[in-house]
């Protein structure tokens, strides 16, 4: 592919589609498990989003490079092995050199391997497109995943614990004096599902073409 095409209309679309029209969480309803599990606070949500960004874009490129020699009967296994290898490598390197970050990630590392978005993109895109497009697709979908995660975590941490990044925002704004109390429900997984549901609702009100015809 020539350099002038690096940010062609198509590649731009690869980046922007997953943010709204084809969002992995709110439209394709993938990756819900991690969106529920790790959105209690902002910081882990952001770390998770970054890790998925790295793993998804690199794995998409690797699969795309190998797509012509992967036997189709074992392609899912191959994809899984690539993702798992990347995740373990990243985990090992973090543990050796940035121990604090690796502690922050703890259980999420395993969750990345099982994230349906990653397998979904490898199977649906990496297996059929060139490396550059696959890389862009990986980035786009990670951003689409990231903004939902961060939005959900923002509301859950703010309303559930009264903090943002651990900083007591509500207390310093004096909201408690107006009679507000931290909503314990917000830190439990069901409220994550409801928050995602509300985001989907708002998205469909603004973006009519997402609404299925009866």
């Amino acid at each position: 592919m020539s350099k002038s095409n690096l940010l062609s209309k198509r590649t731009k679309q690869l980046l922007s589609d997953p943010l709204d029209d084809n969002n992995p969480i709110t439209v394709q309803v993938l990756g819900i498990c991690s969106a529920l599990a790790i959105t209690v606070q902002l910081k882990p949500a952001i770390v998770m989003a970054l890790s998925v960004l790295v793993v998804l874009s690199v794995a998409n490129v690797i699969i795309s490079l190998m797509r012509k020699i992967i036997p189709s009967r074992i392609r899912i296994i191959v994809q899984l092995v690539v993702v798992a290898t990347l995740v373990i490598l990243v985990d090992q390197v973090l543990r050796a050199f940035v121990y604090d970050v690796s502690k922050e990630l703890s259980v999420f590392v395993g969750l990345i391997i099982t994230n349906c978005i990653i397998m979904g993109r490898l199977e649906a895109f990496g297996m059929a497109n060139g490396p550059w497009d696959s890389f862009m697709d990986g980035l786009g979908n990670s951003f689409g995943y990231a903004w939902i995660l961060i939005a959900v975590a923002f509301f859950r941490e703010l309303l559930g614990s009264g903090t943002l990044f651990g900083y007591p925002v509500l207390e310093s704004l004096g909201i408690y004096e107006l009679g507000y109390e931290n909503n314990g429900m917000m830190i439990l997984p069901p409220m994550a599902l409801i928050t995602v549901g509300v985001i989907i609702w708002i998205q469909r009100v603004k973006n009519i073409k997402l609404v299925e015809s009866k």
Binding site: I88, I187, L188
Partner: protein
């Protein structure tokens, strides 16, 4: 070439497995020394932190020997045994029966005050939890506690390694009179005057219970050793009682 032939499928799988295995084992072996070093430094940092010394991981190495005056290994009967307390792996010890377990004990001296630091290890919701609890010289009052975990739920059980959970432990006591009570983590919050209870974590009840069980189980192992130390500290405790009686008297009079 038909990539979907059986022979190709097998060849692809075999080569992939060999490459991945080589890659991962090389990474694991090469990075192991760095990872072990991090774990060792963190342990020193945690031990220091339980006696109120906050320092980053790299600094822990330098001042560890300044504050930690002795490291003992004892058994459940309270006798000292041979061994290096720092290298005792509680995860291994706890698989043995109580009689043959090695119990590490660290004794610190910070600005002339002696404190006893007991390593803890137990079960959380998803995996092991561990920590250190430091007792004052009377072997009853808690000076401080630190906890950590490998895989508790972030925002819920994982909160046990936050100061908001750890700080309330200081000042609690593990005995009621002569009876061992340990310290319980109480769902819904401990009473304000409860000397043996601290607040639990909303949404993290199983991890909180794990902390209670861990404290009870581990501290109980040291009771015989404590009783051998007690006579030496008895004078102090009698003296302390006199002081507290005096203050009660004063409050009655006032």
């Amino acid at each position: 070439m038909d990539v979907n032939k059986n022979s190709n499928t097998f060849a692809f799988a075999a080569i992939m497995v060999i490459i991945v295995a080589a890659l991962l084992s090389t990474a694991a072996i090469e990075l192991k020394p760095f990872q072990d070093r991090n774990v060792e430094l963190e342990k020193k940092q945690n031990i220091l932190s339980s006696v109120g010394i906050t320092i980053d991981r790299d600094g822990a190495e330098n001042i560890y020997d300044t504050y930690i005056k002795s490291e003992l290994v004892i058994n459940v009967d309270g006798e000292e045994v041979e061994g290096s307390a720092f290298d005792v792996d509680l995860g291994v010890e706890m698989k043995k029966d109580a009689k043959s377990q090695l119990l590490p004990l660290f004794i610190s001296n910070v600005e002339g005050v002696t404190r006893y630091i007991i390593p803890l290890r137990g079960k959380g919701l998803w995996g092991p939890i561990w920590g250190f609890i430091s007792l004052e010289e009377d072997l009853n009052s808690v000076f401080g506690a630190v906890f950590d975990h490998s895989s508790e739920t972030p925002g819920l059980g994982a909160e046990i390694n936050r100061a908001s959970f750890e700080d309330p432990f200081s000042g609690k006591s593990i005995f009621e009179g002569d009876e061992f009570t340990s310290i319980k983590v109480i769902k819904g919050g401990a009473e304000e005057d409860d000397m043996h209870g601290v607040d639990g974590i909303s949404g993290g009840t199983i991890t909180s219970d794990g902390v209670s069980d861990m404290l009870d189980e581990r501290l109980r192992m040291y009771l015989s050793y404590f009783s051998t130390l007690k006579p030496a500290t008895e004078v102090d405790s009698v003296f302390n009682k006199l002081v507290s009686i005096a203050s009660v008297n004063n409050s009655i009079i006032n």
